[in-house]
Symmetry: C2
Subunit: 494 residues, 2 copies
């Protein structure tokens, strides 16, 4: 194989996942044609392979939230500054990242318009209008849209881009209990997106005060971890807003005793970042590795021609295989291009992460079998033609499960339980996801950040897991020596 | 019934469709809760009943274009002025309506960014990059997104708003024939959206030069007509761009003879305007009338209680009916609210346009039957419980078909064939959709516009229909007296 040609045609990666992770990531998302760089910094084109994954996640999530009686809506993407300012912590968090429209055509606008960063300040004035009595509750709306955050730091395709696609759900309840229950139900859907669809293991937990969304009481999240660089990454979040916004936006209702009461609110969202996390966890030095459930092409069928032999029989067998698979709703494609070498085709489909490659050649034709290559572990399996559909179905399930299992094993190997500061520092140097007993004081997290700051960034709390190990009485915080109140995951983060 | 209370609670319309159409329209879209006015002029909130119609149209259209091998993508919504300017006619058309982002946070941006109006100038630089050889063609991409046109004239909810949702398809072909064939195939899908889903009859045709999208060779459209005010409205369009953009954006490929050739392009889109057209055609003085295929609630089941009688049996029968209907995938809901009068419930569901109302009372309970009221024509039908599901299914189909038939009949009654200027003027005064022989000269259309301009606007060409009546030799243009070249529809327009 001619490596030089492959690199030039984008079929081989220059960078290695374990050597220079960030360059590897940038290279793989572009070479696998998930994204294309755009000529405005921090913006990226989402190409069909990325958008089709997004559509698969939408097709799962939208019906699930409709079962919960969440309705679809669409609010304008521009907001007046006066509304954006109403909840101060919310505004302070977003202020540096606002994109402002100040002109239309040749004219200056009378009032500057902020482009949607998140729609609390856009939506809640109308919740105030629409909610009157307890029969108007709960009010649960969701929209699929773009959002813009003009981040100042280094943008990363899919992970931290200045425009992204997401869903944002906004709900208002009569009671705190209902709000809290919904937040957990949504978080479970986010877990399923990661674990069942993207084959990425996540930990459910509560973010620290420093990472709580501006204006929220607390933020719950599903947290993923990237072993190769030892960084946590927030996968998706539900924000329990309590009555903070209700107070500022005057969202009240008359309860059954005809007393004016403020509503309890949540907001929750997941974005195209999900796709970036999937790439980081599963990609390898050959390119993307796609879990079958989200792969727009699950099986690529490739004819293996022989010199000086009429290939019609091989091509017919390939076509027949594709047809059979498609009839069973397996997303199979035929690569019949005769101007590319076999090696080039292999490299291309490996780069794009197609879960299964089916090769049909002269030998297989004689033996009435095909050769299947798994993208996830490289295993080659011969399958009798008669069993093709059944075996491919099994293999797709197996690949999906194996990808989650392997990712979970790798993630779990990174988890290090510590009790002391020395253990913490050692684990951090080893890029672990560190589980330590913690006094739950904001100032101590700030101290830890300061003490660990270096060119790779500082350590922080990733989350305090819902699933808490036992905390024997007398356990001390690893950082402050004060009595520990809970276990938290620590590490560097995106 | 207490009219005053109904008007105050938004359950009765103040305006009449035949008396003051525009006020009626504004009132009905808000009262039926399709939209809510927003505090920035020209922007509207799309409420669940509107977005759910949009989702239904998406669920039809997206799989259809995927069968045509159109792939999904998402391009950034900001574009540099230098790209926007490249195709002059395109830029000139959009220039007055551009929303400009000039600041991020507190800082001025180095370059001003235009918010997406339509994505030709955003997408085609990348077509130039991605298209190299004939094997890269056709390239067919579609995105579902928002777009912003800061229109200066009066905004109309859903019909002409400053932000709207749409799909925009962009395709590039090796030959003009392939491009033209695709444009017709897409136009047929647009016809089906209007006729099969929204029950709105449309005419396929070519727009006049004056209404051709800036940068296109010609624009084909599906044209609807609103009898009550005698105005045409463009429903959706395909733009045949020829090689104009290919030249400006340098989109070339090496054809099979290895010669550099420019691609042939189309762009095509339909927007949330579809929903506004549906309201204008079908709405009445009681509110919205929804075609069953797009109604998120197709059947509302209402218990009819009797004074001093235990209503448990009635309520149970209602619940059982909803359950049965839902099991057969009919979108049925129960209105069990006990704090609203029957009259109020009727008004509310009429306002929201729910196709069928099923009433279950004591009498029906005894006779084992229910009473069904059709929203489209007010007919009341008794149905035996045993036949409920079958009969409701039939009725839903019947309502869908009847709405299209009635709308087509009303539209057809507005079509007036004319041959002379006097006939034209008379027909225009009668608010007709005027079919006349036409010399196909741009300057004559401008003359007609000038001659007919009054406070209601000027007459213009709505479209030249694909389906051309016979044009006997010697037929003269109704406006210029020159030899006629084709038949065109004329009238006032949105």
């Amino acid at each position: 194989m001619n490596n030089k040609v492959d690199i030039e045609t984008g079929l081989r990666l220059i960078n290695r996942k374990d050597e220079n992770f960030e360059e590897w990531y940038s290279e793989v998302v572009a070479s696998a044609e998930l994204i294309e760089h755009y000529d405005i910094s921090g913006l990226y084109i989402l190409r069909p392979s990325a958008v089709e994954i997004w559509e698969t996640l939408q097709a799962f999530f939208n019906p699930e939230i409709k079962k919960m009686n969440v309705e679809s809506c669409y609010f304008p993407m521009f907001v007046l500054e006066c509304h954006l300012k109403k909840e101060k912590a919310h505004y302070d968090g977003f202020k540096p990242e606002v994109a402002w429209v100040t002109k239309s055509g040749q004219s200056d606008l009378e009032t500057h318009l902020a482009v949607r960063l998140s729609s609390e300040a856009i939506i809640y004035p109308y919740y105030s209008k629409w909610i009157r009595g307890h029969r108007d509750l709960p009010l649960k709306l969701n929209q699929w849209c773009n959002a813009v955050r003009w981040v100042v730091g280094d943008p990363i395709p899919l992970i931290r881009s200045r425009e992204f696609l997401w869903q944002e759900g906004h709900s208002a309840f009569a009671s705190e209990e209902e709000a809290d229950a919904e937040a957990l139900e949504i978080l479970e859907l986010y877990r399923r997106i990661y674990e069942e669809y993207l084959a990425v293991p996540v930990i459910k937990g509560t973010k620290s005060v420093g990472d709580t969304c501006g204006g929220a009481i607390f933020t719950n999240a599903v947290e993923a971890f990237i072993p190769n660089i030892g960084r946590g990454i927030q996968g998706a979040a539900t924000h329990c807003l309590g009555q903070k916004f209700a107070e500022k936006f005057e969202i009240n209702f008359e309860d059954k005793k005809v007393e004016k009461t403020m509503v309890w609110q949540n907001s929750w969202g997941f974005s195209t970042r999900t796709i970036g996390v999937m790439v980081m966890v599963h990609g390898d030095d050959k390119g993307l590795v796609l879990p079958p459930k989200v792969a727009s092409t699950q099986v690529i069928v490739i004819p293996v021609p022989y010199k000086n032999v009429d290939c019609e029989g091989i091509n017919d067998a390939c076509k027949a295989a594709v047809k059979m698979l498609r009839e069973e709703k397996i997303r199979a494609e035929l690569d019949s291009r005769d101007n590319y070498s076999l090696e080039r085709k292999y490299s291309e489909w490996e780069m794009k992460g197609v879960p299964l490659m089916v090769e049909i050649g002269l030998k297989g034709l004689g033996n009435k079998q095909v050769c299947v290559v798994r993208r996830d572990n490289g295993a080659k399996i011969d399958i009798a033609n008669a069993d093709l559909v059944e075996e491919i179905k099994k293999l797709l399930n197996n690949v999906q499960q194996n990808m989650l299992d392997v990712a979970k094993q790798k993630r779990d190997e990174c988890i290090q339980v510590i009790h002391t500061w020395d253990e913490f520092v050692e684990a951090l140097n080893q890029r672990k996801m560190i589980l330590g007993p913690w006094c739950d004081e904001k100032v101590v997290e700030l101290d830890v950040k300061q003490w660990t700051e270096n060119e790779m960034g500082a350590a922080k709390i990733l989350c305090s897991p819902f699933d808490q190990p036992e905390l024997p009485e007398g356990t001390k915080c690893f950082a402050s020596g004060k009595p520990a109140k809970k276990w938290s995951y620590w590490g560097r983060s995106y």
